[in-house]
């Protein structure tokens, strides 16, 4: 029993309020789809584990696992409905509770602020590292699934690239589910470099189908499936000093940073 490997997924949900309020897609529905996806992953094998993170312009944190006293009290008071599977119910209630807590903190702001995506990825990576150590000597196959809605933020280029290389080293696949907005250059590269999948969702209201088909199979299953792979990966880099995505740039021969101009 202990010889079996653990499949661990970290789901990162981009909760940028500016983008969600502007889009026609309902956040509630999307969250429901993601919850069902998380349930299916957990149901595949009792060794499977999951963590869910959110990425917001002001903060980034766990949605699951995250215990708090108020949550425990609430769960204590409410009985589990007879139709809910124990594990599913715990995960779902925790995620929803933490989401509601987050929503109550939200204040209205005029200006667009980008989500702290790179911070969230770093957090997911450190958590995965902890999980790997916790279950030694069992092998942990981990993946990060990013449900992205924001456009690329060039100022995050360096940190995201660092995250990608770290994931590469730890053999963590990064799967990208691009839900809204146009293709993301950085995340395409992330999926390509870590041999994950990149899927641009054409019908966001049918998100669950995309999640089930492209993101549920683990790495060993993927070998036998014909998955959609990124046809064309945009390899453009961002200028290190101007934080702009450039078509043609210069690379410093010493530090390998890419620059828009030479001084």
């Amino acid at each position: 029993m202990s010889g079996e490997s653990i499949d661990f997924i970290s789901v990162i949900i981009d909760l940028n309020p500016y983008i969600w309020s502007a889009s026609k897609l309902s956040l509630e529905q999307t969250i429901n789809h993601i919850l069902i996806f998380v349930n299916s992953h957990v149901s595949l094998n009792y060794n499977n584990q999951v963590a869910v993170f959110y990425s917001h312009p002001n903060s980034t944190d766990f949605l699951f696992p995250k215990h708090s006293e108020s949550l425990d009290k609430k769960l204590e008071a409410r009985n589990k409905p007879g139709n809910a599977y124990k594990q599913f119910w715990h995960i779902n209630e925790q995620i929803l509770f933490n989401l509601k807590a987050l929503a109550s903190l939200d204040t209205e702001e005029e200006e667009f602020k980008p989500s702290l995506l790179s911070n969230t990825i770093s957090m997911a990576l450190t958590y995965i590292n902890r999980i790997i150590r916790k279950y030694e000597p069992q092998t942990v196959n981990s993946r990060i699934i990013i449900v992205s809605v924001s456009p690329d933020i060039p100022s995050q280029y360096i940190t995201i690239m660092n995250n990608i290389f770290c994931a590469q080293r730890l053999m963590i696949k990064m799967d990208i589910c691009k839900l809204l907005n146009e293709d993301s250059v950085f995340l395409q590269q992330a999926a390509y470099l870590t041999s994950g999948v990149y899927v641009k969702v054409e019908y966001p209201e049918r998100l669950i189908h995309y999640l089930m088909h492209s993101f549920l199979p683990n790495s060993s299953m993927r070998e036998t499936l014909a998955l959609r792979s990124g046809d064309q990966v945009d390899f453009r880099a961002a200028c290190f000093c101007h934080k702009k995505i450039v078509d043609v740039g210069f690379v410093c021969s010493v530090c390998l940073s890419s620059k828009e101009f030479i001084y």
Partner: protein
């Protein structure tokens, strides 16, 4: 269509097909999930549906509610009393149906008018509690047809039990009659707790809720002696910090116990004692895994947990038993000459049934399947030669 054919070939022996979860349409070659499984899986994933598949919790809190500690000790006591009965250190009388089960499963057998433990029973003792519980429940399911109970209903209940939450109370109202009968049975085994017969609620214990999970629960896991208690030294000396007669009885299966102190026993693992255990059908692997899973925390600090010398010796003692391998065979001897010997040897080799051959005293041994073939073939060759000569 070709792909479908391919897939069907692959699916032919698959577990899913055997479990009837997948069905293939012979006309179109399409495979699909069983519709009922499909809807139920769907319901489970979205936490919906109407069947209350995962147990109905009681609305009102229990006046006489019990805590997890009580449930643990209750389960332990009930299950250990079954095991105690098995090793014959029984203080409490078991229920009639449990005794019936013990006999039916071949763990105990009637000798005179007394039940005594069998070979299978000894093996049973060394297994993990969960394996033991499952073995028991399977036997119970098997005997269900004799008791005129619906085994599907019972299985349903068992899986439901595995999904209940430990420490919560559940209502009896939604259970079917079969399941209520089962409940009393499971109560005796320590899988569920019911305050008294009239109580309308029951509590699943850890034995029940871990039925469908992957982790093993070792017998002492939930009790005060949650840590292991066995210290084994390289000189085969074994110190066990235990007071329970059950644990001592299990240990005495393969350990020559020398002394008993208020809180520990001292023994020696000897060849005679281990061979005795092997005779009873216990394998060296079972002994090793038992010792490993109950090793004292101090022992766990080293890697490997048990001294290598002892493990190796246990395996060697087991191998001693397998020095001779018996094969049903046929012996050809007293042949007329070199020619005949070579002919038969040739044929035996051709049929791939040669077990042993000795050129010096001209004897050949072939296995029993090949015996007749070799005989008739040799007769044919001899006949052919004679005709050629003639």
């Amino acid at each position: 269509m070709n792909v479908g054919q391919d897939l069907r070939e692959k699916l032919k022996d698959s577990e899913l097909l055997k479990l009837n979860l997948i069905q293939t349409d012979p006309m179109t070659n399409f495979s699909s999930l069983h519709p009922q499984f499909q809807t139920n899986l769907h319901n489970a994933l979205i936490c919906g549906g109407v069947n209350n598949n995962f147990g109905q919790q009681n609305e009102q809190p229990d006046k006489n509610s019990v805590d997890t500690k009580f449930l643990d000790s209750y389960a332990l006591e009930a299950w250990e009393s079954v095991l105690h009965y098995l090793v014959g250190t029984q203080s409490r009388k078991l229920s009639k149906s449990l005794l019936h089960l013990l006999r039916n499963s071949g763990l105990m057998d009637l000798k005179g008018d007394q039940l005594v433990i069998t070979r299978k029973g000894f093996q049973f003792l060394l297994q993990d509690v969960k394996v033991q519980v499952w073995a028991f429940l399977l036997q119970y399911l098997d005997s269900a047809t004799d008791l005129h109970m619906d085994s599907i209903d019972m299985l349903n209940f068992l899986f439901q039990l595995g999904n209940l939450e430990f420490g919560k109370d559940y209502s009896l109202e939604v259970l079917t009659d079969t399941q209520k009968i089962m409940l009393t049975e499971l109560k005796h085994m320590g899988l569920v707790y019911q305050r008294n017969k009239k109580s309308s609620r029951f509590y699943p214990t850890r034995l029940a809720t871990s039925l469908t999970s992957g982790q093993m629960i070792s017998s002492s896991d939930s009790s005060q002696e949650s840590e292991g208690y066995i210290v084994l030294e390289t000189n085969y000396r074994l110190y066990a910090y235990c007071i329970s007669p059950l644990q001592i009885a299990v240990l005495s299966l393969f350990v020559d116990l020398k002394a008993r102190f208020p809180n520990m026993v001292v023994g020696l693992i000897t060849r005679d004692k281990v061979r005795e255990a092997l005779e009873k059908g216990i394998t060296a692997e079972q002994i090793i895994s038992y010792l490993t899973s109950h090793a004292h925390p101090e022992m766990r600090k080293s890697n490997p947990v048990l001294p290598v010398t002892v493990i190796d010796q246990l395996r060697l003692w087991e191998l001693e038993k397998h020095r001779i391998k018996a094969v049903p065979a046929l012996l050809f001897s007293e042949m007329s000459g070199e020619q005949e010997f070579n002919d038969i040897l040739e044929i035996a080799k051709r049929f791939n049934c040669l077990v042993f051959a000795n050129k010096k005293d001209r004897s050949i041994v072939v296995n029993s399947e090949g015996g007749d073939k070799v005989k008739s073939e040799y007769r044919r060759i001899r006949e052919e030669r004679r005709q050629n000569r003639g």
